[in-house]
């Protein structure tokens, strides 16, 4: 890095002026999202004096906040002082935020459509610590943003340099592991869980329906009723079937669109410190993870994905609770090659170690059938019976479904124990596998319910800084042995978990 590239950091500087535009757009976006029901009401209902009065107030508030967001641009400065990045901001009260270099965890870029038109990026700096504070700069020219990032990360490396990073520094170049082609993207979209989307649609559909019913009143109900009657004057079952198929098609299309918007032109790179993902159609998101910050990795697959030999990979990074979700790197549409590369980086010894396979107790099947199947169905049936109604057969079918699912769940649950870490594999229709190295664990819990105590079974939880891993219903003896072994490994480990 040439010295003069970084001169701008030594004195307070403003963001790129595009920031005003970005702030304003963000502001209007929020208004639209928050206030669209009001807008609709205004369109539907004839305006009266009270409504006009309210709308003046709303406009006044909107104008003031717009002014505030413009002023906030002129009040925003960033610079480096000593070993800290300083951000000054605040419209009425000035605030000064100090970000010590050694506390910086990751520096991410994000670009929405405006950023891309003007070739600027927004910079997000994540720091460690339970407060979960994040710092962001709304718009910066690409050169400056990159200069800042390289500067911050190089500063950070000087403060904590350990063996992992030294090894990593040998390979200086960024290595493209995966780039999703449009065809790959469609494969990813097609193999998503469409039923989840269907549930979402159903929930929001009823939400909307109730909402519109509230504001427009009986008109809507009558309208919908007559429409339904006109289209399906046949029986209910054919109506339900049509509705289900319609919903399925809509969910399918929506997940496809969502996948394309989110993962368009996804690139998965191996950098010298870890991994990086860049993706997005309108908003280009870039996220990176340092190798030593990755606590555990998951990969998911389902029968459709298995047909295309696809996995979706999750690299979970250490972060404060509030932002753990955001800190995971998610790579849909990975193949064996990428999965292998990630496993090799996270757990280099994996191939050389001996993994011993174990399963969970079959008694869990009965427990699950009891708690998810028999008890709820029993309660519903008792209530219906008390109200003098018939006993439903579909309810009994539910118990059968739960039984079949529980059977598959137990059969497919497996964990593989080795000297340095553990691999888990579970799932009913799809499959989720997890890889966890022992020294990443923060604490261990062995617990037993009443039934488990009687049967000498236990559930063991391993807590890490990026989520926990649970093995249910294993022999108590095994749980204790695992617990003692893992604790010994953690306590005698010389390695920092991060």
């Amino acid at each position: 890095m040439k010295r003069n590239d970084l001169d701008f950091l030594s004195s307070p500087s403003r963001q790129s002026s595009v920031a005003i535009l970005v702030i304003l757009m963000k502001f209007f976006g929020i208004i639209l999202r928050q206030a669209w029901p009001l807008i609709i009401i205004f369109l539907f209902k004839s305006p009266d004096a009270r409504a006009a009065y309210l709308s003046y107030i709303a406009m006044g508030i909107a104008f003031l906040s717009m002014l505030a967001s413009i002023i906030s641009y002129f009040k925003f400065y960033y610079y480096v002082e000593g070993e800290e990045l300083i951000i000054e901001k605040g419209v009425i009260q000035s605030k000064r935020l100090n970000v010590p270099f050694e506390r910086i965890q990751t520096v991410n870029f994000e670009q929405n459509i405006i950023h891309r038109i003007f070739n600027v990026v927004s910079l997000e700096i994540d720091t460690a610590g339970s407060k979960g504070k994040e710092f962001s700069i709304t718009a910066l020219s690409k050169e400056r943003a990159e200069a800042i990032r390289n500067y911050l990360l190089s500063k950070k490396r000087k403060t904590i340099r350990d063996e992992v990073e030294e090894v990593a520094e040998q390979e200086l170049e960024e290595n493209l592991l995966l780039q999703l082609s449009p065809f790959d993207l469609i494969k990813v979209g097609v193999t998503q869980n469409h039923f989840r989307m269907m549930g979402l649609i159903l929930v929001s559909f009823f939400g909307f329906y109730q909402f519109f019913e509230d504001i427009i009143g009986d008109q809507l109900e009558a309208q919908v009723k007559s429409w339904f009657e006109a289209s399906f004057n046949s029986s209910w079952s054919s109506f339900l079937l049509t509705f289900f198929l319609f919903l399925l098609v809509v969910s399918f299309l929506l997940t496809l669109v969502r996948t394309i918007v989110r993962y368009y032109d996804l690139r998965f790179l191996k950098t010298r410190l870890g991994f990086k993902v860049i993706a997005g159609l309108f908003t280009k998101k870039e996220q990176s993870a340092n190798i030593n910050k990755i606590q555990l990795i998951h990969w998911d697959t389902n029968p459709l994905m298995e047909y295309f030999k696809l996995y979706s990979l999750t690299l979970s990074q250490a972060a404060s609770m509030a932002i753990t979700q955001k800190q995971s790197i998610f790579v849909p549409g990975s193949y064996d090659v990428q999965l292998g590369a990630v496993r090799k980086t996270y757990f280099p010894e994996e191939d050389l170690l001996d993994f011993e396979q174990h399963g969970i107790s079959p008694l869990i099947i009965w427990r699950r059938v009891l708690y998810v199947g028999i008890v709820p169905v029993g309660i519903i049936m008792a209530l219906r019976f008390a109200m003098g109604e018939m006993i439903d057969l579909p309810l009994l079918l539910w118990i059968l479904i739960v039984a079949a699912a529980s059977y598959l769940y137990q059969k497919q649950w497996a964990y593989f124990v080795s000297d340095k870490g553990i691999r888990l594999s579970r799932g009913i229709i799809g499959r989720r596998e997890t890889l966890l190295k022992w020294y990443k664990i923060q604490s261990v819990k062995v617990s037993q319910g009443i039934y488990q105590r009687r049967k000498n079974l236990a559930t063991i939880d391993f807590y890490t800084a990026a989520g926990s891993v649970r093995i249910p219903y294993i022999e108590l003896e095994k749980a204790n042995a695992l617990q003692n072994f893992v604790l010994y490994r953690i306590e005698s480990s010389q390695r920092e978990w991060m």
Binding site: S130, I441, S447, R453, A465, N484, L487, Y488, I490
Partner: protein, 175 residues
Amino acid sequence: MIFENLQLDLEDLPEVETVRYQKLAPAHLTIRLISTGLLYALLLIGMALVLTFGEDIAPELYYILPTIWLCLAGISFWLASASYKVKAYALRQKDIVYRKGVIIRSVTTIPFNRVQHCEIKQGPIARFFGLKTLALFTAGGQMSDLSIPGLLPREAEQLKDFIIKKTAEDRYEEE
């Protein structure tokens, strides 16, 4: 033998399951009973107000609500006294073990070299009885944090000092 592939003899490792636990101070049970009592007294007052001044109350409610109250209070008092017997901690050379739970019994172990922060707390009722709570935090999130109540002030201070010393030592060894 189980887990035969591991390079350590599992029988030689220190065992959590055979550790000798230290019970909490007896006054902790009193504190738990008092706070449970206060909660149910409040519920009783609320219920009485509703039943006396409420309008259109179904006649069955006059005996259903008190029965529910009695059952819940009974269960809660039983749980409070039973959980006192289970709650216990053990200090080992390199970690701290805490046992709790009547229905689901759990044993949580936090190695000292994973403790991020520890502090001593005291609630209003506990202050009256002079007992303190030691809270231990790890990077593993809320679920993995420990909170050991019912400690005598000196005991709590000693535990905290010991853990801080151990945490610092273990960190030092690593460097």
